[in-house]
Symmetry: C2
């Protein structure tokens, strides 16, 4: 079970094609075929069905392991080289959509004034992607938002030793349509709303599966799916009665009133993998200080 074999296996599984994987990796089709065959004889079980190429059960299981494994391998390399190499004079920040608000603009301005030569990049990514890209060095810093108990850290995919610091924290509010029976309630436990219908807006609000994890319930069934990062659109849909939405209170922005949710907060955390003293450290200081 060599890393190279796993890498080509993952490529084949992703492309659904031996030849496509071969061209991606710079191999011949023959080599890819041999790699997969070697893995299969090593594990004594077929991993792929051919013609058409599809994962077997064992293959699917292996893929579940292989992808994070390769990610962690890349993270290890990035972490060690980060120790050695001089801090780069560029700055790439990844942020989930709802994490953009908390002072990033101001902090970036502070960096630019002190280091006019660096031209920062801000990249909006899915929450799951950010930790991975910070770990493997593609991003210098990450800003992720999420819902958690006030004392708990945000649950993050474990991709190696990353440091996380809270940079902003706000109460949560459920956005109810006008006339909803619960309107005007003072406190609303999230579990009480597990049976309600929700708008599933994984980019603009909290993904519903995260709510289930945070509340320990398995409700939160979606009535409408909203694909996009624009919060205003989500608010409009929620007010029109298409479903409930859970948002940080500041995001409501006076446009609408929400019912506060106790015991849970919306938090933005800064992710980094060991700061040296490049522009990334400056930005981190501006964000946290």
């Amino acid at each position: 079970m060599d890393t190279h074999l796993l890498r080509t296996f993952v490529a084949v599984a992703r492309h659904g094609s031996f030849t496509a994987a071969a061209t991606e990796l710079g191999y011949t089709q023959s080599a890819v075929s041999q790699h997969v065959a070697a893995l299969e004889t090593d594990l004594r079980t077929p991993l792929l069905r051919r013609r058409p190429v599809a994962l077997t059960d064992a293959g699917a299981r292996l893929l579940e392991h292989a992808e994070p494994l390769l990610l962690r391998l890349a993270a290890a390399r990035a972490d060690v080289t980060r120790l050695v190499a001089a801090p780069a004079e560029h700055l790439v920040v990844g942020a989930s959509a709802l994490a953009l608000g908390g002072g990033l603009a101001g902090a970036l301005a502070a960096v630019r004034s002190r280091r006019p030569l660096v031209s920062p990049t801000v990249r909006v990514l899915e929450r799951t992607e950010i930790a991975a890209r910070v770990a493997d060095g593609t991003l210098d810093l990450g800003l992720v938002d999420g819902v958690a108990a006030p004392t708990d850290p945000l649950p993050l995919p474990d991709v190696g030793p990353l440091s996380a610091v809270a940079v902003a924290q706000a109460p949560l509010a459920v956005l109810l349509p006008p006339g909803h029976p619960l309107e005007g309630r003072r406190g609303l436990r999230l579990a009480d709303l597990a049976d309600a219908r929700w708008i599933d807006a994984p980019e603009a609000a909290m993904p519903l599966d995260r709510l289930r994890a945070a509340s320990g319930s398995d409700g939160f069934r979606p009535s409408l799916r909203y694909e996009g990062t624009d919060v205003r659109g989500l608010i409009a849909l929620a007010l029109a009665g298409h479903g409930l939405a859970l948002l940080p209170e500041p995001a409501l922005d006076g446009v609408a009133a929400g019912v506060p949710v106790p015991r849970l907060v919306h938090r933005v955390e800064l992710l980094h993998g060991g700061l040296t003293d490049g522009p990334a450290a400056l930005l981190a200081a501006a964000l946290t200080g």
Copy 2:
């Protein structure tokens, strides 16, 4: 950064010797030397100081990544082969010391009566070791205990997709020496006791760092360290005033009275990596059913 290179690097770091690592791995010393050199040129930084052999900073960092990486690799192999191979007719259960109580004896008896031929092994291990050994297939089942909020799962080191099921849950109690100012209190939040002096008994009770994580405080300073799994000894020390101890209430066993701690429970969870239908599945059914 091949897996073989990482493996020999880890072996060298553990043994503090190239030759010892070579004999362990069945290589010549020359090969080990070349492996380490290859890693160092690949990462463009020395990983080990020689004569005496010691880790550099970069080497220590790499080791932090390499060990879990190799563990996950073994876990992946075990997980896939478990899918394929026939369920073995043996049964190895790992358990942390405080997890032994909850019905394991009875459940084992149930298994033995139905499968008289299997001779089970019970192995008492440190909490951190159990998840790793279940993942890589050394253990068929694991029983770990820990402290968490009633709705939260126990925090486990992430070694791949493992299933965890609660098998026993008990309230927690702080064991105070007689005459302690807080004696007789009804409820006691753990954070209130962060400044007190504690007995650090990582094998017999909860390790203090776990308490810090569970309570979100950084107190819980140790006044005495207790190495051993015998709870009676720990109770005697706590009653003699050497420090506080946090134990599941049943463990006090009438010997002593403790002050209950709300919002946190002691829980024993059963760990397995996908059950087939061997004796392990029988035992799991007996424990959870």
